[in-house]
Symmetry: none
Subunit: 244 residues, 4 copies
DNA sequence: ACCTCCGGGACGCCCCGTTCCT
DNA sequence: AGGAACGGGGCGTCCCGGAGGT
C-alpha cells in the first residue's frame, strides 16, 4: 500500500530492472495476483496459470519478463512484505515518537496486523516465509524482525520501569515472536484470518497484563487497552473474538 | 482451486479396512514414507513419486490399494497424529494422576513435544493441519486440542488457587494454543525443528512465571522448572535458545 | 528390422526394463514414432507432442514410462540403430562367408543402405548421430563403425591382392566413411534420401574402379558391378545415376 | 569479411535494405552472433535469446529491425555463405589463372576449407544447408556448387589429359561433393571440425592418387601433394575449431 | 485379497519467436 | 532501435486408473 514496492536492486528477482512507468504497474499487478494465490494456497499449491487467471490483464509473457521464475516471484513477494514492515516501523517512528516504548510496541503490533489485513502481498509474504519456501534467510526474516524490533522496545521500557523488574526483555522478544506467528497460523487455519485482529488484541492484553508494571498497566487499561489501539481496524473484521 | 478434503464421514482413509498382517505393515510403511515427505515440504510440495522413492519396497499399486488418493493419505496422517495426541493424553492421565493440574499441563506439553521429536507422522500431521491441507475440520484439530485440553487444566488449577486470581483460564487456553503453534512454525522455519524443545521450555517458563501463583511458582522453580520436565529430550537438541 | 530392439542394459534409456509383451510393443511403437520425427526434422526440430500425434495410440504417460526424457529416446534410437548395423554385419558374416572381402564390403554397404531404406529408426539414428545430438560417444559410432569394419575388409583384400598394392587399407577405411556420410547428407538434403541408393551405387563403382586390382575389377564389372549388388532396392529409387 | 553482404532482393531477408553505415555494422554483428549459435547447435537448437546473449550490444529490437524472423536470419547466413564461396571462386580465378585445372581444383578445395576455418558464418551456412533448414533451394546449394564447379574443372583437366581417360568428369563432380559433405559431417561430429583440414587433405590425396594421370600425379606429389596446398592453414588446425 | 506393471492425460513451469508501444 | 508484453508450445511430472499376476 501507499508506496509502490520498487524492486530492491539487492534481491534481484526481476530479470531486468523495471524502467518504464507502465512496466512498474504491470509488475505490481503480477505481484498482486501472485500474492493472492500464494496467500490462498501457499507456494507449492499455487500455479502460474491460476495466477494469470486471477488478473486477465496479465499474460505469461509479461510475467516472464518481470520475474525469472516462480521462485523469484515468491522471493519478490517476501521482499516486498519486509519492505512493507519496514515502512510500518518507519511511519511509527514518526507518528509515535512521543509515546512511551510499550505503547509504541502495541501500536507497532497493531500496525502490522493492519498491514496484514489490508495487503494481500503482506499476507502472502508471511505465509511464504512460514512455509520456508524462499530459502532460509528470507524465511526467517519475520522471526528476526519480531525478535529484534520488540526486544529493543521492551528493553527501553524495562529501563524506564514500565515493565516488571524480573522480566527479561530479550526473552520477551522471543516470546512475542512465537505468539505472533502462532496467532497468524491459528487464525489462518481456523477462520481464514478473519479473527486475526481479535487474537492479536487478546494476546497483547494478556501479555501486557503479565509483564507490564502495575501502574503503567492501570493507565493503559483505563485508555481501553489493546482493543483501543486496534479499534480502527477491528471494525473491519466480522468474525473474531472481538471485545477481549 | 485446490479444494480441501471433505472428510469422509467414516473417517476411514483406507479404501478397505486392512485385514492381513502384511497389509497392515505395508500400510504403515506407506504412511511413514508419506509423512516424511509431508513433514519436509508440505502437502502440495510433496509428490507420490518422491514418497515411493523414499521406501523402494513400496509401489504405486500398493499405495493406491491402501489409500484412495493423495488427499486420503494426508488425512490418514493427520488422523494418526490426532490419535497419537490422544495416546499422550491417555498415558498422562495414568502416569500423572497424582500431580496437580499445572504440573500435568507442563508434562502434557512436554509429552507432545516429545512426540513431535520422535514421530515423523506427528510432525507431518501438525504441518499438514497448519497448512489447512486437510479440510477445515481436521486442520483445526490442533487448535481445538490445545484450547480444550489446557483450558480444562487451567480451570482446575485456578480453582485450586495455583493460578493467580485475575487470570481467565479459558483465555489462557487460547493463549497457549497460539504460543504452541508459533513455536512450531518459528522453529521449523529457522532451525528445522532443532530448537523446538528449547523454545517450548522457554515459553512455558515465561508463561508460568506470569500466570502461576507465587507460592506454586517458587516450588516449581526449585524443582528445575520446565527444563526439568523436558530434560529427557532436551539432551537431544542442540540449538535450544532457552538458557534460563 | 525383424528382431525387436531389446533395450540394452548398458545404455539404460528405459526408466525400467520392459517386462510384459504389451509393454515391449508399446515401447517399439513409441520408438518408431519418435524415429519418424527425428528422421524428418532432427532432434531439436522434433517435439514430443508431434511424436504423440504421429501415433495416436501412444500417450505421454506411456512415453514417460518407457523413456526418462526426450534425450533418452534419441539415445535409444541411436542404440537401436547401432544394433541394427550389428545385425547386418552378423547376417553378412553368415550369408557372405564364402565371398572374397571386397565383395563382402560391397554387400555390407548395400545391406546398410537397405537398412536405411527400410528402417525409420535406422534413418533417424544416422541423422541424430550426424547432428551430434546424443553425446560424443554415440554421435561418433557411425564413424567408428565404418572405419573399423571396412578397414578390416580392405586389409584382407589387400593381403589377397584384390586391391592395388599402393593403396593403404586403413586410409581407405577413413575415405569410405566420409563418402558414406556425405552421400547420406547430400541425398537427404536434395531428395529426402530418394536417391541414396543411386549415390551409394555410384560411389562404390567409382571407388572400386580406382582401388581394385584390374583382374578383380574386370570380373566384378562382368557381374554387373555395384548396381547388381544393390539391384533389389534400386527399383524403388527414382533418382540415381546408376550406370546400368 | 571483405565485401558486405548486400541483401539480394530476391532472397529478401532484410526487413529493409541496409542504408546507414552503423546499420550495416549492426546487421553484421547480429549475423555473426546468429551464425555462432547456428554453427554450434543447428537451426532448431539455437535460440534468439542465446544469440542476443552472445553479443550484449545487440537487442531484440535491432534484430527484428534487420531480420523479419529467425528463418530469415538463417537464410541470410546461408546466402552470405554462398556469397563467400563465390568470392573464393572469384579470387581463385585471378590468383590461379595460370595454373592447370587440377591444381586449381585443389586450391579451390583448400580455399573453401580455409573459409570454413576462418568464418563462423561459413560454418553456420554449411551446417544449416546440411540440415535442410532453409528450404530446398538454398539447402542444396552446396551440392550444386560442388558438383558444377568441380565437374567443370575436371572436364577441363580431362580434355588436357591430366585425368585418366576412363574417368567421367561429371561423375567425379558428384563424387567430390559427397566426399566434401562427408568430411564436414564426420569432422564436426567427432572433433568439432578440428580435424577438418586433415580429412580434406587426406581425401584429396587419395582421390588424386586414383584419378589423376600418372605423369601429372608424379609432379604433384613432388610438390608436396595436397598437404602443400593447404600448408598455410594446417598449422592453425591443431587445437582450433572451438565449437561452442 | 493384495500387489505390480503399464498406461493416460492434464497440467506444471519455463522459454520461445514475435509484435506493440515508446 | 529498446523496453515491454504476448501467447503458444517446449518438456517433464503429476496423480491416478485399468490390466494383469500371485
Amino acid at each position: 500500500m501507499s508506496r509502490p514496492i520498487s524492486g530492491s536492486p539487492s534481491g534481484g528477482s526481476p530479470a531486468r530492472p523495471a524502467r518504464q512507468a507502465r512496466a512498474v504497474a504491470t509488475r505490481e499487478r503480477i505481484l498482486e495476483a501472485a500474492a493472492a494465490d500464494f496467500a490462498a494456497v501457499g507456494y507449492h499449491g499455487s500455479s502460474l496459470s491460476r495466477i494469470l487467471e486471477r488478473d486477465p490483464s496479465v499474460t505469461k509473457g509479461a510475467l516472464y519478463f518481470h520475474f525469472a521464475s516462480k521462485e523469484a516471484m515468491a522471493l519478490a513477494v517476501v521482499e516486498a512484505t519486509s519492505e512493507l514492515y519496514r515502512d510500518v516501523v518507519a511511519r511509527a517512528a514518526v507518528d509515535d515518537a512521543d509515546l512511551d516504548p510499550l505503547r509504541r510496541a502495541a501500536r507497532l503490533a497493531s500496525g502490522v496486523q493492519d498491514l496484514l489485513h489490508a495487503s494481500t502481498v503482506g499476507r502472502a509474504g508471511v505465509r511464504l516465509a512460514g512455509e520456508g519456501a524462499v530459502g532460509p534467510t528470507w524465511s526467517s526474516w519475520p522471526t528476526r524482525f519480531w525478535e529484534a524490533t520488540f526486544a529493543a522496545l521492551f528493553a527501553e521500557a524495562h529501563a524506564r520501569g514500565d515493565i516488571r523488574g524480573e522480566v527479561d526483555p530479550a526473552a520477551m522478544g522471543r516470546f512475542v515472536t512465537d505468539i505472533s506467528h502462532g496467532a497468524f497460523t491459528t487464525s489462518m487455519v481456523t477462520t481464514g484470518l478473519a479473527d486475526l485482529a481479535g487474537r492479536v488484541t487478546h494476546n497483547w492484553d494478556v501479555m501486557f497484563g503479565f509483564m507490564a508494571d502495575p501502574r503503567w498497566l492501570a493507565e493503559w487499561r483505563s485508555e481501553g487497552g489493546m482493543a483501543a489501539v486496534m479499534r480502527r481496524h477491528l471494525a473491519l473484521d466480522d468474525g473474531g473474538g472481538g471485545g477481549g
